[in-house]
Symmetry: C2
Subunit: 341 residues, 2 copies
């Protein structure tokens, strides 16, 4: 569009309709994952009859779904046959190690979609209309779903996060993993440093998922469970590293400053607190994935946000940290922000 002068001269209503109908995109992708369409596509030959048979679905439904996925760029079509695009082959075929299909369970959770039916009210009020504290309500069961479903999205960030927080440390390292979730980040630190000991903190049912993953990774003997709220439980320690992954965005700055003070108190001198966050640029509208995460926080929390680096740095400094550094992760939309005690 940008390269077509006529398009700039005469705006069309296409973007308005596309946007009003965009909800169909999410539903179509969720449905395709649910009926196992992307495995069927990968196995070929990709004609409607074979796909419908693999998916135990109607030919009318499969044809219209495949055409729709082709229109939105998630399949390709040649004649009457459908094939993977490079994106769907890597990220949607269950046979691919990078398959993200499981994330649809969390990102498509009806409880998380519900607030968007009342978004005008939320914008008026300025906070979620979900009951209690929304997604940050104590013991909210969605975090068990998160732990089960979101590991494939977070996995590509684990290796760079591990090397950023270890920063070459080879000896014994005590690590507190706050809001451990699936546990992948702490587990990756334990993998990269065989003398690292991880304490995972989260709601007890969530920690069961993290602990199962630690067992699978062969590091359960260096993994301790600390169940409870990050705001209430005693951290123990002292620690060399505290991980705060996908956590600070749920709360307002004063709450985060209070939490970071508690984190700092549990660190050894010279210790580091490392947050994995969606960090938009100072303009707050780029890059798109990090910046648009604010909308999720508006709809689902009382006062969370996707904070800019300057805002996160200010919170760290108010909590007593020095030398705050940002490390964009090239394998995903996140940035690691490290504060030093």
């Amino acid at each position: 569009m940008a390269s077509t002068p006529q398009a700039a001269a005469a705006p069309t209503p296409a973007l308005v309709f596309e946007t009003l109908m965009a909800y169909q995109r999410s539903a179509a992708l969720r449905a395709a994952i649910e009926i196992d369409l992307f495995q069927a596509i990968g196995e070929g030959p990709g004609d409607i009859a074979s796909l419908a048979k693999h998916c135990s679905a109607s030919e009318r439904g499969v044809r219209i779904l495949c055409d729709y996925l082709t229109i939105i760029g998630l399949l390709s079509k040649e004649g009457d046959r459908y094939h993977h695009t490079p994106t769907s082959a890597v990220f949607l075929d269950p046979r691919s190690p990078a398959c993200l299909g499981a994330t649809a369970r969390f990102l498509g959770n009806p409880d998380l979609h519900e607030p968007y039916a009342h978004l005008a009210d939320i914008v008026r009020k300025g906070h979620t209309v979900l009951p209690g504290q929304g997604t940050v309500e104590p013991e909210n069961p969605i975090w068990v779903e998160f732990a089960h479903s979101m590991a494939p999205m977070m996995a590509p960030m684990a290796t760079p996060l591990g090397s950023i927080v270890l920063d070459g440390h080879n000896g014994p390292v005590q690590v507190l993993d706050i809001a451990a979730g699936h546990g992948l980040f702490g587990i990756e630190v334990a993998r990269q440093n065989p003398e690292a000991h991880i304490t995972g903190l989260d709601w007890a049912p969530v920690l069961e998922v993290a602990h199962a993953n630690a067992k699978k990774a062969g590091v359960a003997d260096r993994y301790t469970k600390l169940p409870g709220s990050a705001f209430e439980v005693e951290y123990g320690g002292p620690y060399d590293v505290v991980l705060l992954t996908n956590f600070l965005h749920h709360f307002d700055p004063p709450t985060n400053v209070g939490l970071l003070k508690k984190v700092r108190a549990a660190l050894k001198p010279g210790g580091r607190a490392a947050a994995l966050e969606f960090v938009p640029n100072e303009d707050r509208v780029s890059p798109p994935m990090a910046a648009s995460f604010s909308m999720t926080m508006l709809a689902s929390t009382p006062s969370g946000d996707a904070y800019t680096f300057r805002e996160l740095e200010a919170m760290y400094r108010q909590a007593g940290f020095g030398n705050v550094t940002g490390h964009p992760v090239t394998t995903g939309p996140h940035t690691v922000v490290v504060g030093h005690k």
Copy 2:
């Protein structure tokens, strides 16, 4: 993206996440229309405090919503101020005659969104899971909403449709407008030909909307109401022209052939039946807006579809029509398909 060789070489998961989160785009635009944000933007100066005041909304909510709309291309941002894009100025500011805001009421109707929560089931079964016949259930009240809300989307198509169906006829013309809805298409024919008489057919409560629009346009003395089902009511006639706007896509081909036979019987020799339709190319995946309309028909009807020209031509011919011609409308996503008796 297409111009970046690296993007083609190494697929990223961005499109997968964008698609899973696309439902937020529809919700954000609906919320912005509901709180009157686009009028506030047009009036300026576009800072958060002024916008929040105009919209009786929270500053946090308005800031996050405006940033989000900027990310998806429906606002622009300079420093801390938000402005219209060319698209939002023309199609979203209520002060613009081409404003499409009202269409959000129909396109955002929760009853129409509900099936997408069960789209996998719909794909399996091959038809809507809405009660009865879905959106084509007799007397379904959504068509009153359609008549009230969708006129701004359909208005740009009315003038070209009128000139295609009149095709230079200046004398008296009898026109039957099947599924009249808002009535705009028949009314436009009456405007272009002062000797045209229009008979609007639709459910009685819908016809009230069409008749009110005919009054507003000053053509009520040439407008007759024919309430009922297009499949059951006697058409009267004979007619020179029968309009079938946004109607055939709701039904399967045998049903349409039956209807077209009934239409043909009500036409004078040499008369024309003109359907306004979303007509995808033979590949069924282009152009995007017409082709993706099949998804709406899958989710909301037992057996509707966006038919290709070849399919529509076959239905017309089976019903006895000859000389079937297609006329893409440059002012919208529709095509006028005319069959001659």
